[in-house]
Amino acid sequence: MHIVDGVLSMPVLLGSGVLALAGVGLGLRALDESSIPRAGLLTAAFFSVSLIHIPLGPTSAHLLLTGLMGVLLGWAVFPAICVGLLLQALFFGYGGVTVLGANTLNLALPALLFGLAGRAVLARLRPAALSWWVMPLGALVGAGAFAGSALLVAGSLAASGEGFWAAARLALIAQLPVALIEAVVTAAALRLLWTVRPELLARPARAC
């Protein structure tokens, strides 16, 4: 889910860079000095969660949980993911300088759409509703945001050159089990949040 430097063509880099810039700009307008600490700590929490490796047969997969980020952060998910990618470049030596825009867009756009939709459904749920009810919603948000990102990654590779088309399709198939993992983990995490701190999820989606 992480495109490295030197793969994408110039038009794809520029196009997704401009869109990511717009998304980050809109996300920053949703933040004020009272919500910045929350957004900062959530970014750090999701970054540390992404270091969890889950055994998957002989290999392992690591969590992204961008759908859950979208539910909790709303529009602020754009700057949050951008910051996460910057930290990754800075402290883990993964580079990703020219693809910062493309990676931000590919991860944040599906997270935003599924997050806002999930938030709208949660706002209609009665606070006393049983926590089981939020699990299918969490699964949908988790799998949807992940699948959306996988499609965008494959799309930006395919748009960069025909040579990448077959590899992108294979990578897409390889991501399927990870989408299921994201679905189950997001569902369980959302259920816990709904049980422990329902007020975080029930009120209408504000800035963050």
């Binding site: 800075l90 030596g93 993992i181």
Partner: protein, 246 residues
């Protein structure tokens, strides 16, 4: 490491110069195609990490992790790109064009990663924040960067504690539903703790006069040495361009 305060005051070129050099390097290197220029870029990348004082052992570990990632993302290319077959077997065709493409991309990505590490790892989050502010990046994005860099290892330690509690209840990760829901509850609990901490952190910040702008180390005016570094770096980029097009 995240949250360290060594940052902006550390020796060497100014963070602004480092950041701009890093951007220029990335933009030039992702456009390279010839092996002469790419090998020179890789060599320069390794030498720059030595100059930055990154221990060889740490460098080898980082490079191994990074190349593993590259193998995952690029490993299929030699087989999926059509072209002159080099090897055939089991229904697979290894094409020359595919192998070259994968090699070129791996070289570009590694050269960018090495130089990013060399130029920026020593700057620290606050140095980077100060440089970004000098380059007119919106303040809220910088605050977000500083806060998450500061609390990353706090929350990672919180996560270690939660996982120790799970282990104490005989939890062992496997490939099953129970493992996934348990990790989901772990994530949810970590988020609850993070949000509660955010309330305390926010209150503490406001009570110390925070109004949307965090104090950052003032960057000293650019010195001759900084400009010298920038000129030297521009010469390096020029050499790469000559190797590519000359």
């Amino acid at each position: 490491m995240p949250g360290s305060r060594a940052g902006a005051a550390s020796r060497g070129p100014d963070p602004r110069v480092r950041l701009l050099c890093c951007l220029g390097w990335a933009l030039v290197v992702v456009g390279l195609e010839g092996w002469a220029a790419l090998s020179a870029a890789l060599l320069a990348g390794v030498l720059l990490t030595r100059w930055a004082g990154i221990a060889p052992r740490r460098l080898v570990r980082l490079v191994l992790v990074f190349e593993g990632l590259m193998l995952l993302t690029l490993g299929l290319l030699p087989f999926t790109v059509p072209g002159q077959p080099l090897w055939q077997g089991g229904g697979l065709v290894l094409s020359e064009q595919g192998l070259t493409l994968a090699g070129v991309i791996a070289a570009r990505a590694s050269a960018v990663a090495l130089v990013t590490l060399a130029l920026l790892a020593g700057v620290g989050a606050d140095g980077l924040g100060a440089a970004l502010r000098a380059l007119r990046v919106p303040g809220a994005l910088i605050e977000l960067l500083l806060l998450s860099a500061r609390y990353l290892d706090v929350l990672a330690r919180e996560q270690t504690r939660l996982r120790a509690a799970m282990r104490a209840r005989a939890f062992r990760p496997r490939s099953d539903l129970h493992t996934l829901t348990s990790y989901g509850f772990l994530v949810g609990m970590l988020l609850v703790r993070a949000l509660e901490r955010a309330e305390r952190v926010g209150a503490a910040m406001r009570c110390r006069g925070y109004a949307g702008r965090m104090p950052l180390p003032e960057l000293a005016p650019l010195r001759g040495a900084d400009l010298g570094f920038a000129v030297g770096f521009a010469l390096l980029l020029a050499v790469l361009m000559v190797l590519e097009h000359g």
